[in-house]
Symmetry: D2
Subunit: 168 residues, 4 copies
Amino acid sequence: MTQHGESADSHHAPLSGALIGNGHKLTARVYFADTDFTGVVYHARYLEFFERGRSDYLRLAGVHHTELADGIHGEVLAWVVKRMEIDFQRSAKIDDILTINTRTEKVSGARIYMAQEIMRDGDVLVTARVEAALVNGEGKPRRFPREWKAAFLGDNGEEGHRISPAPS
Amino acid sequence: MTQHGESADSHHAPLSGALIGNGHKLTARVYFADTDFTGVVYHARYLEFFERGRSDYLRLAGVHHTELADGIHGEVLAWVVKRMEIDFQRSAKIDDILTINTRTEKVSGARIYMAQEIMRDGDVLVTARVEAALVNGEGKPRRFPREWKAAFLGDNGEEGHRISPAPS
Amino acid sequence: MTQHGESADSHHAPLSGALIGNGHKLTARVYFADTDFTGVVYHARYLEFFERGRSDYLRLAGVHHTELADGIHGEVLAWVVKRMEIDFQRSAKIDDILTINTRTEKVSGARIYMAQEIMRDGDVLVTARVEAALVNGEGKPRRFPREWKAAFLGDNGEEGHRISPAPS
Amino acid sequence: MTQHGESADSHHAPLSGALIGNGHKLTARVYFADTDFTGVVYHARYLEFFERGRSDYLRLAGVHHTELADGIHGEVLAWVVKRMEIDFQRSAKIDDILTINTRTEKVSGARIYMAQEIMRDGDVLVTARVEAALVNGEGKPRRFPREWKAAFLGDNGEEGHRISPAPS
């Protein structure tokens, strides 16, 4: 029986997910804390799953929150989310195993645009478009280091692989 | 000194906020749990403030989560968020006193569209457009009771007051 | 009807609660985000209600998180919880209006011991004993300023009023 | 460099952890959402890590939240935490890789007692003793099915392996 992915209990997922093309794929479980009294995942908790996907994507691409905070780029830096558009299509439930797909759509100066989706057993549950920026300790926007563009967008520096099927 | 609204500590805010025109205004405090290691409020926690605003707006308009869950409309009903667009413009900090403004933009069949904003000392921090629906216990969409339309949109049933410029 | 304190919707509670004897009393609402799929408040969310009680108690006693973080005592300071014992006796539900009572039991050198309880309509739902300390930016424990002892324990500096009935 | 376990990024951890003696071991990452403005993990979020450990332990022992909720034992059942004692000894930080160890200490009638600890690189950060019970849909306590005792306590039905000294 594959309900809630229980057959997958013995499977090993990389803790930080995996890089795929110009994107990233992460596996995560739904626990008590993620749900609300209507029986499904509380809508704001999907944003935590999205954030885990983005953080692990950055981690595997070589960008670490701790290094940013430690000032290795000359000053304290941190990521901030500037805008999100989120479509909640289907609900996740307790014990579900979710896949979080993250893909870079565009990198420009001081902004990065990502497309994300949360899936379960091949069904898309929630999609999001996320615009994020880098700020210093005073909240001032900062440009990305030049080498990041290649890290996020792949060799051609323009467009990467699509998460398949791509969010509409 | 009015930093973080500390001068307002002795002021009394109605626990469930107040109805204003076809909208609602709620006051809430930022606590430890709302913040993250970058020193400001974690982006997904703004969605909890927005949800409090919507819940208390519904409450004062006479729509109670508990009654929906108890099936007074013939079956178990619950609200679900279908879509959100969120602009994170400025950051809130620990101890800040926030105002959450909520306004109904449109009610159609089985969907309600709301505009929300989180303010501090007259500055807009975060804005959101929210599309919500009513579903039954199996997640099937349900039409709103007829009397709700008037409750949310005011007398003319078409358009209500704008929250922008924001109520003081 | 007073179910879930709905009759109290028009009542005004002080945003930061009120000092009572050597203790503090705060009113707060249960929202969607506080609940889990079993239909009641998720156990770890009670700790957020307790933290709000302690934070507002400190605030009204004149101790501000922001001032501690700004280093007005000579270095960056922050509160840390060192130990908690929590008894979950009854469950809170969506829409419930809760009262969080906080009382100082003992202040010694660099530790403060508080007794807390969460109540609904006169019933005790959850009680906690909390041991907290003050640390600097490197996590080193720091002694309390002398004047705090009086602030937390009242005139006699030894014992204050009991929350009635006191948690056992 | 093994700071924050970053060298372990390529390692594969079983999504639901692993059974070890009469206990369980789970690996989890600290993300933005887990931290607060003091720069470390917010104290109540450790309870979410503990809950993940207990849930996955139960899962691998064959006890599923979804089956309990579906009434396979004759009525709707759910776990509730009745009491916790928590010692917060050291702080976890963003990007840390944590190990959550869970061990059954005692099973009696309708209560299960567990000892848990959160570790990082061999250091104990937080320990907890947890008392949990099984309740039906009305919150009434229910006795455990007979076969669970063996599942949680191992062959001799009395005592299992100790997690301390902790498994590597």
